[in-house]
């Protein structure tokens, strides 16, 4: 495999191993992972705690480096990139949704969404209009001027999704996005992401052990002890 962008793959992970050292003792977090993510995927990486879900997501998201193996993002070998180039790559190509929402507490909902666009150098007027439109689309337009501490968990996660898709990324990585939400809110959020996937063609990869997420995913990958034990299309 040459790792070139064939337009049918956003992510290609080849023989990735990740070894952590816990007090000097090596721990295999990932053991020979091979994976591709194609445009329009709505995939979930499931598995018990400690199976390596978050580690894999971090490696795919260029936040962490594999001990061995290759990761290609949009055909580009991420190992050859500098820290600065990786930051730029994340800014342009990846959107992140975290379990704990991770909004900037000093910024309003609108500003949190604007933030990533600001980092790309988009002018203030345009980014404000787009952020407002996104918040409206996600059903939280009226919260534009609220700070994170004035919003519920579900509302914050919607803002986080708006932030993640504001730069029109090739891929959104969502690490346990529903873990902190009640069941009803989680369902609404999943429906929202499904809609974004279906209508806007946004590619999602989740890590989760929430049955509601697994149920809705189009593709299910199950990790166990750092290895993919199941990779199947979800009926």
């Amino acid at each position: 495999m040459d790792g070139k962008n064939t337009n049918t793959e956003i992510v290609r992970v080849e023989n990735v191993r990740k070894v952590y050292h816990d007090n000097g003792v090596p721990v295999d977090a990932l053991r020979g992972i091979n994976l591709t993510v194609s445009p329009g995927d709505f995939s979930v990486i499931a598995g018990p705690s400690g199976s390596g879900k978050t580690t894999l997501l971090n490696i795919v998201g260029t936040l962490d480096k594999p001990t061995e193996g290759k990761v290609y993002l949009d055909g580009e070998d991420v190992a050859s990139k500098t820290r600065r180039e990786l930051a730029d790559m994340r800014l342009r190509k990846i959107g992140f949704v975290f379990q704990a929402y991770n909004l900037n507490p000093v910024l309003s909902a609108l500003e949190n969404v604007e933030f990533t666009m600001m980092l790309r150098g988009i002018d203030a007027g345009k980014r404000k209009r787009k952020s407002l439109a996104l918040l409206e689309e996600l059903g939280i337009g009226e919260l534009a001027n609220k700070r994170p501490n004035e919003m519920s968990g579900g509302q914050q996660q919607r803002v986080a999704i708006a932030r993640a898709i504001s730069n029109e990324p090739r891929l959104v990585l969502a690490d346990e996005p529903t873990a902190n939400l009640d069941s009803e809110t989680a369902v609404k959020l999943l429906e929202l992401m499904e809609r974004l996937n279906h209508e806007d063609g946004i590619t999602f990869v989740f890590s989760s052990h929430d049955p509601q997420v697994i149920e809705r995913a189009h593709r299910l990958l199950i990790l166990k002890d750092g290895q993919i034990v199941t990779d199947k299309v979800n009926k």
Partner: protein, 410 residues
Amino acid sequence: MIGRIAWRNILRNKRRSLILITSIVVGVLALVLTEGFATGMLHQMLSNQISADAGYIQIHKKGYQSDPTLENAMTNPGPVREILTKERAILNYSERLRVFGLVSSPYNSYGVSIVGIVPSAEKKITTISQYITKGSYLSGEPGQILLSTSMADKLKVGLGDKVVIMASQIDGSVGSEACRVSGIFETFNSGFDQSHVYIPIQTADQMLNADGLVSEFVVNPKNTRDQAAVESRVRDDIAGLPGAAGEYEVLSYEQMLPLLVAQLVLYRQALYLIAGIIAVALIFGIIDTMLMSVMERTHEFGVSMAIGMSNRKIFTMVMIEALYLAVIGTAIGLAGSYGASLSLSRTGWDLSMFSASLKSLGVGSIIYPVLETSYVVPTVLVIPVVTLLGAVYPALKAVRLQPVEAIRAT
């Protein structure tokens, strides 16, 4: 937007920001007030010396400054007097016949500078007449003498008592005069008081058999800012007198009081040292506080890095936070210190409890601070520079965070 975030980051932990701003304010206050009081004190020392004795310009016979003896007095002061009378930019001038001699009472004798003055002219040029605490200033009658309180105490004499003054005449013989104490003075400078007595110039002339000799002309210009121009004109005019080339020296107060002027210059340099010490004390506080602020936000920085914030922007944000704190702290510190100095420059700072030591320095017991912007600004700029320098390490620390580890931090 980075600036807005930086500003809100400052506001999110108001107490910490307030502590940091306060330490900057204290640093600026310490620096500016030290500068103000020291400059004020040195200016007072200088102006006291000028107003009580030296004046702004003096004219001597060449060599008198380095060897102030009768041999170096002016034998023909008339033409100089004429030039000074004609010079329009001169406010007043006075002439003196000064000699080192002895003042004696039945109890004691002391070596002093015996200053023969023209009382009416001297009154217009120096402030000695204002320091009379007992009796009265010289009326012009021959045989009067003004002594300081400390000298009168040492000689155990009072008003109306007789003392004898004696000094070497130009031919080497000793001349003496009996004088009656007409007034007792006490200036700001204990050293000066113990070494000066004043008599009418005719009495000095008579005692020294000086035949119209003048040791020095003391000149005050109408406007002190014109001092250099007046000095230069007088110098030229005197040099133009027949046979006067190289015969006279026209000196500014800087040349007459070199030690004091050197002290002023030295203190300016010492102030940079003080600024350095304050800066060192401040920088550790800034590093510590900024580091705490950065470390508390490790998780946030990790998230920002994850969503694509570059190292440069993270570094810039932390530096902007420091800049805001520095600007606010410096501005408040400057406003406060200028306010305090302005108010104290009117009322003065009463240091009567240290009056004895201040007197030995030639300063009054009330200090009036003086702030010279040209000196204050560069010294105070040290503070924001130090604040920014102190923020560099915390900012680098933020930049060096590994996103995946930073996100895990709580």
